[in-house]
Symmetry: D2
Subunit: 268 residues, 4 copies
């Protein structure tokens, strides 16, 4: 059986190398997650279980794949930033995006029960992804700011919307009509005057989303050992320093975050 006769078909594979010296951002979004959230009883406007599961998956992606310097997630989306100099899989865009989404998707099912306990997963969810290149640090920061601003806008809207539905008994259509054309200030005012909610006291997780950065952490584990001259085992605590993808829920639009963690953009 002549293998070589068919191998010419490999020439049809197009090269999709990412331009060097650019930040490579891979963003993924849940497919039809509106329906998925309903069928799995997600609480509204935010479901802590779902948000923490998303972050667990993102941590797995960062730990399993190479060269990711940070990630940012909100709602059913997550963005991963590969370092400018990354040469992982020769910078092929298809490799970046398929490894990220497949690792994320399999982790989502794998870790589901750790977060959703008695709520069974009814079917395997899908995600879509894309790769975008950002040449300068400012472009990258603006990209992340864009996503965090999106988080804020959506969360403020959703917080008021679900208050109107859940507490004031409006139908979704009525709530939508009520919010039509309102500005941020109007929405804050509704929350405060009608529901006694100061939006700024809402959890940072909801208002800012989740930033994952690499941090050294001390892990303390307990080991049972037997010393040479003793007859019985005893427990000792062992402290190990590891580098982990740690979640933060802070502002990344202003300068403070970037001044505090200059190593992220250093990309040496």
């Amino acid at each position: 059986m002549a293998k070589s006769k068919f191998e010419y078909v490999r020439d049809f594979e197009a090269d999709d190398t990412c331009l060097p010296n650019c930040w490579v951002v891979t963003r993924l979004d849940g497919r039809n997650f509106h329906r998925f959230a309903e069928q799995h009883g997600f609480s509204k406007p935010n479901d802590d279980r779902a948000l923490h599961l998303m972050t667990k998956c993102a941590q797995t992606v960062m730990q399993e794949l190479e060269d990711i310097v940070m990630a940012y997630g909100q709602s059913d989306e997550y963005s991963f930033v590969f370092k400018k100099k990354s040469n992982w899989f020769k910078r092929r865009a298809s490799k970046f995006m398929t490894h990220v989404v497949s690792q994320f998707a399999s982790s989502y099912v794998f870790y589901w029960k750790d977060y959703f306990k008695d709520q069974p997963l009814l079917y395997p969810p899908g995600f879509d992804g894309r790769v975008v290149l950002y040449p300068s640090n400012q472009n990258l920061k603006d990209y992340l700011s864009w996503r965090q601003a999106d988080c804020h806008i959506n969360n403020l809207y959703n917080t008021v919307f679900w208050m109107l539905v859940q507490r004031s008994g409006l139908t979704p259509v009525q709530a939508q009509d009520r919010l039509q054309g309102t500005l941020a200030g109007d929405k804050n005012e509704i929350l405060f005057s009608e529901f006694n909610i100061n939006y700024n006291n809402e959890p940072l997780l909801y208002r800012k989303g989740t930033v994952l950065i690499w941090q050294k952490v001390n892990e303390v584990t307990t080991k049972r050992i037997k010393l040479p001259k003793e007859t019985e085992e005893k427990e000792v605590e062992v402290t190990r320093t590891r580098t982990k993808a740690v979640p933060l829920h802070c502002d990344i639009i202003g300068d403070q975050f970037w001044e505090e963690y200059p190593e992220i953009l250093a990309d040496s």
Copy 2:
């Protein structure tokens, strides 16, 4: 918070529309599946549970996504053929490949226990994917032939290799040395003379891989109903005709398959 100030970053997203009127093939491969197979005790050279799980995932992909006319799988890879005229997600390559790999990956974990029973899944596996375009029917058939020829070559090699290791007690290195430079005929001869195995009697699943095509099938389900004038429920059989992705283990290199299923290439 000015969302618009940051939205310029959307202009950095490149268009990756697939050329119209070409077959769009998305192939995925397991990431580090050599290690994955070892850690999960896959039997060698072929593990039926793993092969059937792969096919279950591929069926899920075909059922969940649009416009896939057939699929072909072997070992830890699967290829999906989207129809020439598909305009799914405006033919964007990133959409084709990320939806395929993420749906496949989440299904792999979701359906794992149905096939692997007591063997727990130790960690969530990753897959990589790519998109390749084939302008003509002949190019597409040659692509699929290339993969099936690859299946044959690898399976013949692996069958002899593992016989030498498992039955003759050779170390992997010794088995590799023994097979160095042998042709297909030599390998068939070793199988026959030393292990009394006629390679052509090996299961088609191993030798030909798996083709998934859409077929109308009659599904018989049992329902419990209570008729108006009766007091007790009774069971009835309901027959429904559905279109399903059905697995075949046949040759797709010769003309016979394509003559038998002309609708695959018709793509009207």
Copy 3:
């Protein structure tokens, strides 16, 4: 001086290989040719000198470059069809388009005086170009039909427009208003009833544009030779068969052209 230190910049060159087994069409257009035509006194609606110069340049492109099977031109544009199997410069799109436009542009200036005689060329003109891939023969024929239909539509419009301006003394704006919303039949009627012109008798060059295809032609040249036993030279005619890019002005939308010249699409 370390050359190697800088050579990394070559990695920034993106691969732009054209998908194999597709027709590669390169189309060029004159840049700002409306202004160019005015400044060089082109006659309206068609200038024979300009049209023939365009075709001379296209013939030069076909003769100088590789693998062009035909060309089609009208107004200030020309399309070149490279054969499906062409591997010229490894099918790199940038090579196809820059070789075509630069050869065309230099030829335009070089041959200008052969067609424009006393009208001097005032400045060097520019052209832009692009590469488009067509997977099937039908796609290619439809592309060429699109250009020829465009030629017809524009030429019919321009013929009436300039009659109204040149013979009826309308201003360009008045002529434009007059033609606003008219169909092909209306324009034919104006030509016939007001100017006694039967559009179908207009020159094919204007109505159909120019097709360039490779044809064997006999070239007769006169040579002066001296035969061994004679003392004086004498003139003899020498006939040589050459393959040249020959202009036709025929319909290429219907089947007849393609049936008459099947070798164009044969692409063996």
Copy 4:
């Protein structure tokens, strides 16, 4: 004649937008200029007429097209740098490269006689071009350094090579053998000891190539005017400040050039 029936073919045109916020470099090279130089009697190793004609064409390109901030040329090649923020033709790569090469090619023929006087142009030359993106200023400077280092290396080689051929009477093959494996120092030594040439005294045009940058220049023109109260015309000199593409032959590898002309990289 239905135009619309064919217009679907426009969907086959791929988007080739250049990534925003990157320097867009378009480089062109003469096609088969080795042969072209021989047939037109270029002096070796450098022909001043040819080098000045190249620069005249590059100036025309800079004046005619938009957004070019500088150019660098040597031998039969020229690179044009479009500014990072350029949105000329929506940053489509095909537009950048075809406009540059076609304008260059037509200018080459148009201005030929101004530089080559009695040497007629025998045929229209071709050029090829490409587009490369550079994300950072350092990448751009390194690109230009690469080209200037290339100029130096080639010119040193060619200077010695042609001395050996023209003055020492070596055949080209002998000269090539003589230079096989020599380093820059060896070549300098041959020039000095055998031909009494100090390479550093060779013209900067040859050693450094040509940089074109925008500079304000005062142009003095003579006009004939007639003042109201006078009966005869008189000549007056009129001084106008214009921005022109001015040629320099200086080092662009070190920092000095970039410090002297910071506006080039400012690209605000």
